[in-house]
């Protein structure tokens, strides 16, 4: 067993060392506070830029500031879906439980990001375009992305056998990842067919440098947050699924 961990001087192969829940669990625990710190730093910086540096918009007044939370949540919802599918795919290819657990840990975070994107989009749309919901291509695709997340979570929740749930979820996530561009394209086309180019929630004010910085900082904040919460959740999942193992029984938090 030892020779697997010291398999080679090749750094790439050594990554498999962390694909074991028992080695990853403490490492994740140590990383979490750092990511929280980074998230808070970026968050404070981002909010500062959003509210105290970025100038008022000529057309949309102060209301446009919602963009500083709407766009980052949209980016994150899509990014997390890709990462989740990647982890699930890795789990399928290499048959590593931990990869599948990572995908499971990320799914709720991505779903919440999609929800927040829709919520902030609605609250941005109402004052600007007079409607809580518009069938704008991006909002509609975001809604479908939320459905994809919910489907993934529901599928894993309803299959009792953990390994079967991992693999089935992986297939669903990969099918979803392939479909997201197709769905986005078809919705975009549908949008122009039925509404013309009239309403576009994405017609953000012309990007001043500061505005871009604000969005970037908020996006980084959410990224660090997602990693932190993802690691927290995966540790809980590891404990739940590896409850029967010796190393879990030997943990300090469990041994009293």
């Amino acid at each position: 067993m030892n020779h697997l961990n010291t398999l080679s001087t090749n750094r790439a192969l050594n990554w498999f060392r962390f694909s074991s829940p028992s080695t990853f669990y403490p490492v994740a625990g140590k990383m979490i506070p750092w990511f929280w710190a980074l998230s808070i730093i970026f968050g404070v910086a981002g909010l500062w830029v959003s509210f105290f540096v970025a100038p008022v918009d000529a057309v949309q007044g102060q209301g446009y500031r919602i963009i500083f939370i709407h766009v980052p949540t949209s980016w994150m919802s899509m990014f997390i879906y890709l990462v989740m599918a990647a982890w699930a795919g890795l789990g399928l290819i290499f048959n590593t439980r931990l990869s599948a657990m990572m995908a499971q840990a990320l799914a709720p975070i991505g779903a919440w990001m999609a929800f927040l994107s829709l919520w902030t989009g609605a609250f941005w749309g109402k004052p600007m375009w007079g409607a809580w919901w518009v069938w704008d291509a991006r909002l509609t695709s975001e809604l479908i992305l939320l459905f994809l997340y919910l489907g993934f979570i529901a599928l894993q929740a309803s299959i009792d056998n953990a390994r079967r749930a991992d693999k089935a979820g992986a297939i669903l996530a990969l099918v979803g990842v392939v479909n997201v561009p197709i769905i986005y394209f078809s919705v975009k086309w549908w949008n122009t067919l039925h509404q013309g180019a009239s309403v576009s929630l994405t017609k953000a004010p012309a990007m001043a440098q500061t505005m871009l910085w604000g969005m970037l900082l908020m996006a980084l904040c959410l990224w660090m947050y997602s990693i932190a919460v993802g690691l927290m959740r995966v540790r809980a999942i590891i404990l739940e699924r590896e409850a029967h193992t010796d190393w879990v029984r030997q943990l300090n938090e469990v041994k009293n």
């Binding site: 609250f123 932190a228 540790r235 409850a243």
Partner: protein, 62 residues
């Protein structure tokens, strides 16, 4: 940029929309980690009980 705190909270008339957006985001971003913490504590509590039970089991059968 802001002449007074009141102006800041008013957000040029868009207060409802801006603060609802940021507010719900903050709510979710705070509640989610709390929920994960609760889940973690629950599993640790369950494991502690099981370890204790095994311990007593072993003691009893000696």
């Amino acid at each position: 940029m802001w002449n007074s705190p009141a102006e800041f909270f008013a957000m040029g008339g868009y207060a409802l929309y801006v603060w609802s957006s940021f507010g719900v985001c903050v709510l979710v971003l705070v509640l989610e980690p709390l929920a994960v913490r609760a889940r973690f504590k629950a599993i640790v509590r369950r494991l502690k009980r099981e370890v204790l039970a095994e311990h007593f089991d072993n003691e009893g059968s000696k």
